[in-house]
């Protein structure tokens, strides 16, 4: 596959077209109907949550949030393949994979509401917290890859980054280290066409992002990120490469951020209606749904029925997060060091004394 879709040839790996029709039988993955339906529903859940969160934000109930809207197929496909012991190294727009790893919506909500507790994943194993400094997390992925290889474990690392992130030096160093060390890491670039307001062609003059694999001597492939089947297959093949000790792999997943960058961004400033409409036709959910409907596996009616259930579930978890309670003062000091130094303890005691004084003043 990596030979057939050599990024130097500038072709994009696709399996279905915009209408959900299979156009690439050779690489159409074999997935059981039941499974397939589950994957679609996972995406549907993610999208429902996403849209819901935007409305919470409008109500002032959450500060900021980066929607996955339009990019669901990528994180979902990774979520299908990632195992319990595989490592997930997210950027911040990979809800589907995080949920698949066992991160709960409530935890995500806690994080975006402003509690670090949202990153102390209670169920998800081998999952790094959301990483805000762009591209920096990819080096952690490379290091995890080294640890896996060193310990001779059968694990794979999934490291995510955006198109904008490919401009950072850390992207380069991560791919380069992983290449030299030949470690089992799948680097997935979600090329959603923009880094906030900056279009991908202003990030780099290279003919694609996948082609950057050549600079590191690693396998690379450009995939239609709005084509669930293509993403499914590309990741499946990448996992094989990694488990065979032939990693890393670089995947450019071509997609579109249908929503705003974060809930405080206004995309009308930097993109056109025409562009948005063009991408609307490539919407990953619509395409997969069309496929499912053509196979009689799904219908609008079923979808209409299930969405309210999802909304309810999202709401339930959101409200749980909203009622999480006050932020314990102790938590400000507790996690900096394995053993809190005396001086830091003194700072906490001094703060206690001040709080007491303040409370007495306010009474």
């Amino acid at each position: 596959m990596f030979k057939e879709y050599n990024p130097l040839q500038e072709s994009m790996f696709q399996v279905i077209d915009n209408h959900g029709k299979v156009i690439n039988d050779k690489w159409m993955p074999k997935i059981e109907d039941k499974q397939l339906l589950k994957f679609y529903k996972d995406m549907l859940f993610a999208r429902t949550a996403d849209l819901q969160i935007v409305s919470y934000q409008r109500q002032g109930r959450i500060f900021t949030y980066p929607p996955n809207y339009g990019q669901e197929a990528i994180a979902a496909a990774a979520g299908v393949h990632i195992r319990e012991n595989d490592w997930l190294v997210p950027a911040f727009r990979e809800m589907g994979t995080m949920l698949a790893k066992g991160v709960t919506l409530k935890e995500l909500f806690l994080y975006f509401m402003g509690y670090e507790d949202g990153s102390a994943f209670t169920k998800a194993k081998n999952t790094l917290p959301i990483s805000v400094p762009i591209a920096s997390q990819l080096l952690h992925a490379a290091g995890l890859g080294y640890a896996i290889k060193y310990s001779k474990k059968d694990e794979v690392v999934y490291g995510f980054v955006g198109d904008g992130g490919t401009s950072e030096g850390d992207f380069h160093e991560a791919l380069n280290f992983a290449g030299v060390w030949s470690v089992p890491v799948i680097f997935i670039i979600q090329n959603n066409q923009y880094g906030i307001s900056t279009p991908t062609h202003m990030q780099t003059a290279s003919s694609s992002l996948a082609v950057k694999a050549v600079a590191y001597g690693v396998k690379g492939i450009k995939v239609d990120g709005n084509d669930f089947f293509a993403m499914y297959k590309a990741i499946e093949e990448s996992v094989k490469v990694c488990r065979d000790g032939k990693g890393p792999v670089l995947i450019e997943a071509v997609t579109y951020r249908k929503g705003a960058h974060t809930t405080s961004d206004d995309p009308t400033k930097y993109r056109t209606k025409e562009e948005e409409e063009m991408w609307e036709e490539r919407d990953p959910m619509k395409r997969m749904k069309a496929y499912l409907i053509s196979k009689k596996l799904w219908s609008d009616k079923e979808e209409e029925k299930i969405i309210p259930q999802y909304k309810e579930e999202v709401d339930r978890q959101f409200i749980e997060a909203e009622n999480y309670g006050p932020y314990p003062k102790e938590d400000v000091f507790k996690y900096l060091y394995a053993d809190t130094p005396d001086d830091l303890k003194d700072q906490e005691h001094e703060y206690d004394r001040f709080l007491q004084w303040k409370n007495s003043k306010l009474k």
Partner: protein, 320 residues
Amino acid sequence: MVNAINDALDIKLAEDKSVIVYGEDVGVEGGVFRVTEGLQKKHGVERVFDSPLAESGIVGTAIGMAVAGLRPVVEMQFCGFIYPAFNQIISHATRMRNRSRGKLETPIVIRMPYGGGINALEHHSESMEAIWGHIPGLKVVAPSTPHDAKGMLISAIESNDTILFMEPKRIYRAIKQEVAEGKYTIPLGKANLVTQGKDVTVVAYGAMVREVQKAIVMAKEAGISVELIDLRSIYPIDKETIVKSVKKTGRLITVTEGPRTYGVGSEISQIALEEAFLHLEAPPARVAGFDVIVPLPKGEHHFMQDPYKIFYEIERTVKY
């Protein structure tokens, strides 16, 4: 303050063709805080533009431009995202003149919103100016009002040094103030005596000035007269203004947002020690952040300096 900064940039862009403004999303969008809004339209895409997402790249290329005679004004999107550029700043921007014995200069302004109080995610709320102040060859300033922001930024752009221009984003839109039209400058390196007082000197800058002013109201009620100095320049430090005031009041408190240890406060205290030891009636004290990572929004109030905390320290120091 957003408008005042925009105004300063606009004036310098219009006046001097060597001024170039770039950074992440500063062009089409006008920056995530809209500080550079409208400037690309007005001054063209070659002078105000979006760069690739790479901070080392932004500062590093600015060094090349500056050496060639341009005056780049670059933006770091948030204080937590300047660190990839650390090497270019400490190893080159601040050293080119010294290294070349005056032959090459790097007149660069690095603008950067800093500080807490806007309910942002991790890395968006830090105040690490002590680190920057410790770097030889760098000037570090922070305005506390729209008026100062405009005059100081114009001075910064006209300076031949590399300047870190720290913008207290918490008061980006909080302070309404008439800002004089047209061009004026405020010299960098001079502090501003905001309020005269006799019992205690309080030194602050950026968003903390406003917090101190609130504490001063409380202090007044308690019969304490506070002298407030807006430091304006973190490096170099206007020792003269501080020392004069401390000699008068005999007491000193610094109010800063960053972590306490190795923070700005202790340096100001040391100045008082070195220049006014015998005038001191109480130990110079600090209101400063804890030595911790700024908590996420729900916990941020624990970290931030509120007027009560400042007043608490004022009272303690005066009663010492």
